[in-house]
Structure formats: structure tokens, C-alpha cells
């Protein structure tokens, strides 16, 4: 067999391999691989207690809602490009979905603007029943294959009657999700706004109910002062409490998370939030085209660089030369 003289030079072979690698690159630039994909629906509590200012950003006290918005916006560039994000708001006993999940990279500006426009004034009613709201959210999103990220401070207003909590047993395991607790553990006053949206002090103890007066009392009637089965099932004594102050109800939220089969994390900084979100449990393996051009290009580059390394033959030659010289010397 006659080998073309050009091919007798190893450099030509390397060059040819490099060129073939590049051809491979153009023939198969992407390969279908299983990749982790995330799909989150952020449901943000926009009730009044979220206006309490117990977070700090750049030495400025900011409200819980502001902090949540800031963190979510900061989070966007840190999530993988293919992640889908939807947004909803919670108030009263339910949540409303603003938009279904969209891909971060394609809709970055829209997501960023929509999050920045979240406002407590969007609330269509002023109550805050977290347990029912969570239940409603899970029920609403159970068919959507989206991971629910429920962001709240856990402040119930008015306080709930523990006998009327929704039963999460039906929901457990149907929806994956995470409850993100916001706020500090120290109770702080909740700002009050007038009809024009101007701040007008804080909620006082007289402004809010301090115990549930809904339905049947869960206490022993004989223990209740001024009990009357029909007119005063909770007694006649005025209860003074600290419901006008708000703190992160962490134990309550962890309990809810446990009941509903969700995870719990506390919102402190970007990194812990990111870690809590990017767990295998929340991801789905989906076939997605993955750019594999890099492998071909790397082979081509390696081959090509080898051409310009000092050739083995010259090293060998040099070595042999040295040896013969040595021999000559010995002789």
C-alpha cells in the first residue's frame, strides 16, 4: 500500500483528525441529554403584616415585602436558564396566580418587572389566613407540575380558631413545595396606611382582634369567663394580646409545612434560598438539547496544539545524538 507522502508526517494526521473533529462538531452540535429542570411558582404573601420593617438592606430598614422582592429579583440570574418561574400573590384565604411559569432567560425583564411591581395594595381583601391560603394554593397548583414556593411571615389576622384548620392530609404528597418564612423573630409593629396610601402610624392593640371569635370555642366552657353558648361562646372578657405586633411565626410555619409535606426555610440571604430551591426533589429530569460542540472543539484544539509542540522525533533525535556523542566520548 502506498501512503501519500504527506500522510507520513504525523502533523498531517493530527491536522486531519482536528479537521474531522470539527466536521463532527457541525454534524452533531447538540445531543439530547437528561437535564435537571426546575419549575417554580412563587406565591408571595401581600398582607399588611408584610409591611412590617424588620429587614435591613444597606443599613436601611426595609419591609418584609420589599426584602422578598429584592431577594427574588436577585435570585433570577442565579437560577439555571431553563428554569420556569410563575408568580402569584396571597391574601385573605387564597392566592391568585398572576402568570403561569415562563422561562427565566426568555422573559427575564418581564419577570423582573412583575416581581418589582408586587405591592400590598394588590390585596383584594385584608384578612390573612395562612393555613387556608396555603391549602387553596396547593389545591390550585396541584395539576400544574410546578413547585410551590409560598413566601409568608405566618401572621394570621384575625387569629384562627385551631378547631377549623384545613386538613392537609388530602394534599400531602401531591404538590412539592417550600414555605419560606420571612421576618424577624422579634415582634415589630405593623405600619398603617390611609386611603391615599400614606403611612399613618402603626396598628395599635385596639385596632385588631386578639383571639378568634369564630365558630365554637375550643376551650372548656367552664374555664371561660362569662361563657354563653349562644351569645358569647368565647366569653365576655376582652382579650388583650400582641396581635398588633408581628414576628415570623416559625414554629407555626414548620408545623404547616410538615402537615402539607413541604419543606421549610427561613429567608435570610440569597444563598440559603438558592440552596433550598435547587434540590433534586424539586427538579424534573427532562430530555433537553445540550450543546456538545465543546468536546469536538477541545479535541481539535488538542490535536492542533500537538502539531506545534517540539516533535517527538526531534526529541528522540536529540536524545540519540547525545547518546552517540557519549559513546564517542567513551570510545
Amino acid at each position: 500500500m502506498i501512503i501519500h507522502p504527506v500522510l507520513r508526517d504525523y502533523r498531517s494526521i493530527f491536522l486531519l483528525v482536528a479537521l474531522l473533529a470539527m466536521l463532527g462538531l457541525f454534524i452533531k452540535p447538540v445531543s439530547q441529554q437528561y437535564a435537571r429542570q426546575y419549575n417554580f411558582t412563587f406565591v408571595v404573601d401581600i398582607t399588611r403584616s408584610m409591611n412590617a420593617t424588620d429587614y435591613k438592606m444597606a443599613d436601611q430598614a426595609v419591609s418584609r415585602l420589599e426584602f422578598v422582592k429584592h431577594q427574588l429579583r436577585a435570585l433570577l440570574p442565579h437560577l439555571p436558564c431553563s428554569t420556569k418561574i410563575g408568580l402569584g400573590v396571597f391574601t385573605e384565604r387564597r392566592s391568585s396566580l398572576l402568570f403561569e411559569p415562563v422561562e427565566i432567560c426568555n422573559s427575564y425583564t418581564e419577570l423582573d418587572t412583575a416581581i418589582s411591581k408586587l405591592d400590598w395594595r394588590m390585596a383584594w381583601a385584608a384578612d390573612s389566613n395562612i393555613a387556608k391560603g396555603l391549602f387553596n394554593t396547593l389545591a390550585m397548583l396541584q395539576k400544574s407540575h410546578s413547585t410551590v414556593v409560598f413566601i409568608t411571615d405566618g401572621q394570621e389576622a384575625p387569629p384562627v380558631n385551631p378547631s377549623y384548620l384545613p386538613d392537609f392530609a388530602a394534599m400531602k404528597g401531591k404538590v412539592k413545595g417550600l414555605i419560606v418564612g420571612t421576618g424577624g423573630l422579634q415582634a415589630v409593629p405593623i405600619p398603617k396606611f390611609d386611603a391615599q396610601g400614606n403611612a399613618s402610624g402603626f396598628y395599635q392593640a385596639d385596632d385588631v382582634p386578639h383571639r378568634s371569635s369564630f365558630g365554637q370555642s375550643n376551650l372548656d366552657p367552664s374555664q371561660i369567663e362569662g361563657y354563653d353558648a349562644r351569645n358569647a361562646p368565647f366569653g365576655s372578657k376582652a382579650v388583650v394580646g400582641t396581635e398588633h405586633l408581628s414576628a415570623l411565626q416559625e414554629s407555626y410555619l414548620t408545623q404547616l409545612a410538615h402537615q402539607a409535606g413541604l419543606n421549610y426555610t427561613r429567608l435570610t440571604d440569597l444563598e440559603p434560598l438558592q440552596q433550598a430551591l435547587q434540590i433534586p426533589e424539586f427538579s424534573t429530569q427532562q430530555l433537553a438539547p445540550v450543546d456538545v460542540r465543546g468536546y469536538f472543539a477541545a479535541v481539535a484544539l488538542l490535536m492542533f496544539c500537538c502539531i506545534y509542540l517540539p516533535p517527538l522525533s526531534s526529541v528522540w533525535h536529540w536524545f540519540r545524538l547525545k547518546k552517540t556523542k557519549d559513546n564517542v566520548y567513551v570510545d
Partner: protein, 327 residues
């Protein structure tokens, strides 16, 4: 140009460009005495050229590997279209059918008919920037004015979730009008109000809305999804005592809209078909020259790098065949 790379650390690989400078990369032939050879400018130039090509190969491969791309850019264009804000009623009654019942069988609820037809509408309006706002008791900011149709469709699709409370149309309109703040005044601007009911607007709000509509030059389309046997926008009071905004909010809202200084058009739709016609009509009307900013998505340039690398590689291989062989 706005060029950027994904993995800047790979740019260290550009140091490999030193290799062709240090080594010839071709077969060397022993010569008894180099000084014997005359200086050949052409050979020197060729050798330099070959090194240059080799460096180009390495550079383009490294840039391709590092993921060279042009960042997302925007470009001003002129087309036919409009800035449209879809203002969607999320009150409870929207989940009923046009006959005013909970949909059963093949009946379609008002909101789902609106959702289906609006999605079609959005798909047809390629050059438009469309925003979405919703309202019930309070206004909800949903999606800013955007060219991104996928995002708008995601927002329209979200109205499939159960509706909220009552109707506070004035706040909703205020929210929709706020979309046009800080937006360049170009092409036509319009609000498409999709609702199945109306509410009285108080005098303060009327004044504000009137001023804003004029200030932002916004047209208004009202798609009134009328439930069978409910008051329509053209109804006249039978009894003078009923002739007020509380008793006949639809009629009064219509009168208020008609008194705006900016163009206004009402469509009363009592069936999905009528709704379809109304939307087609808006589609026709909203075709004015529009200055819009087209967003050019991030452009991957690594492909270009790889093509260049391949061309240069081919060139070098071709040159290889011209190499002088010593027998």
C-alpha cells in the same frame, strides 16, 4: 458590539497562541550551512502567514469554547401595531357562562372564552407590545408592556385559576393607565377592558381617569361580556328613579367612557362568537405606524468561531500538500 463570553477562565487558553511562535510545526530539513541560503522575503512572509493562520485557529477555537456571544440588544424599528394593555376582570361572575350559569357540558365560561380568543389575538399581533393587568377589588399588576408573546400568553392563561372578589373598575383602569407612564408616545395606545359587569366610579376617580386618558392619549375598547337577561350598556332606565350609577352601572360607565376626549369603542358580546367579532374588529383598528424597539436576543457567536477555525484548519491542511518533501 457588546461581546461577552460565558467562561472567561478559558480565555487563558489564548496563551497557547505562543506555540506556533516557538515552533515551526512542519518538517524541518537539515541543511549543511544555513548561511548558504539566500534571504528569501517571500518564504519569510509565507512562514509568518502560516503562523498567523495557526494562531487564528487557536484563537477561534478558544473563543468558541469560551462561548463567545453578543449580548441581548435592542433595535428601533417601525412597524404597524400598537401598545395594548389588556385589563381583565377577575371578579367571580367571569367564571359563569354567558347564560349566567355555572358552565356545564359544552358550555364555555366567559373567562375561558375570553382567554381563548385573547390568546389568539395576541398571537396575531406580532409587532405589538402588550401588557396585562387584572382587577377585582384591587388592581393587580400582571405583566408589563412587552414584545414577549410567550409571557403575555402565560399571563392570560393564569386567568384560568379561580376568580377573586368584586369589581372595582376605576382602580383597574388606573393601573392599566399607569403602564403608559414613561413609555414613548408612538403608535396607538389602547386599553382593552374585558369585563362582564361594571361598577360606579366616584367623582374623584372620574376626574383623575379623565385627565390620565387624555394625558397618555389612550384609546379604550370595552369588551362587555353580557350575561343573558342582565342589564346591557345601551339599556335605558324604565323608571326615572332607577336612572343612576348605582342602579345601572353599565349604562353610566358607558356614558363616562363616551365622554372621554380620547376614542372609545364599546362591544357588547353575548356569546363567544360576538366576542370573536369584537376582537377581530380591534385587530383591524389597531394598525398604525409604530416606533417600536425590537429586542434582539443574545446571539451565539461560537458557531462563527468554529466555522472560522475549520476554514483555517482546512487551509493549513491544503498547505501541507504543498510542503517540500525531501526524498
Amino acid at each position: 458590539m457588546n461581546l461577552a463570553v460565558d467562561s472567561p477562565w478559558l480565555l487563558w487558553g489564548l496563551l497557547l497562541n505562543g506555540l506556533p511562535l516557538l515552533n515551526q510545526g512542519m518538517r524541518l530539513h537539515d541543511q549543511p550551512w544555513l548561511t548558504l541560503l539566500p534571504v528569501d522575503r517571500l518564504s519569510q512572509a509565507l512562514s509568518l502567514l502560516l503562523k498567523l493562520v495557526a494562531m487564528l485557529v487557536i484563537t477561534s477555537l478558544i473563543l468558541g469554547l469560551a462561548g463567545l456571544h453578543r449580548r441581548e440588544q435592542s433595535r428601533e424599528r417601525i412597524g404597524k401595531g400598537a401598545h395594548i394593555v389588556l385589563l381583565l376582570d377577575r371578579s367571580n361572575s367571569m367564571d359563569d357562562s354567558f347564560a349566567g350559569r355555572t358552565p356545564e357540558g359544552r358550555e364555555e365560561s366567559k373567562s375561558s372564552a375570553a382567554r381563548r380568543l385573547l390568546t389568539e389575538f395576541v398571537q396575531h399581533r406580532q409587532a405589538d407590545r402588550i401588557g396585562v393587568a387584572a382587577y377585582s377589588t384591587a388592581p393587580l399588576f400582571v405583566m408589563p408592556l412587552t414584545e414577549n408573546k410567550t409571557a403575555v400568553e402565560a399571563a392570560i392563561a393564569a386567568t384560568a385559576t379561580p376568580a377573586l372578589a368584586y369589581t372595582h373598575v376605576a382602580k383597574g383602569l388606573g393601573m392599566a393607565l399607569s403602564f403608559f407612564q414613561d413609555q414613548p408616545l408612538t403608535g396607538s395606545r389602547s386599553i382593552v377592558l374585558v369585563s362582564d359587569g361594571a361598577a360606579a366610579i366616584d367623582k374623584d376617580d372620574e376626574l383623575k381617569l379623565r385627565a390620565w386618558f387624555q394625558q397618555h392619549q389612550v384609546r379604550l375598547y370595552w369588551l362587555f361580556l353580557r350575561t343573558a337577561n342582565s342589564p346591557g350598556i345601551y339599556d335605558v332606565a324604565q323608571d326615572a328613579r332607577d336612572d343612576n350609577a348605582q342602579a345601572m352601572p353599565e349604562r353610566y360607565l358607558h356614558q363616562f367612557f363616551s365622554s372621554l376626549k380620547t376614542p372609545y369603542q364599546a362591544y357588547e358580546a353575548e356569546s363567544p362568537d360576538a366576542l370573536k367579532k369584537a376582537i377581530a374588529d380591534i385587530n383591524e383598528l389597531e394598525n398604525q405606524p409604530l416606533h417600536y424597539v425590537e429586542r434582539l436576543p443574545r446571539q451565539d457567536l461560537s458557531g462563527v468561531c468554529y466555522v472560522l477555525a475549520t476554514v483555517y484548519l482546512g487551509l493549513l491542511l491544503a498547505v501541507k500538500f504543498l510542503e517540500v518533501k525531501k526524498c
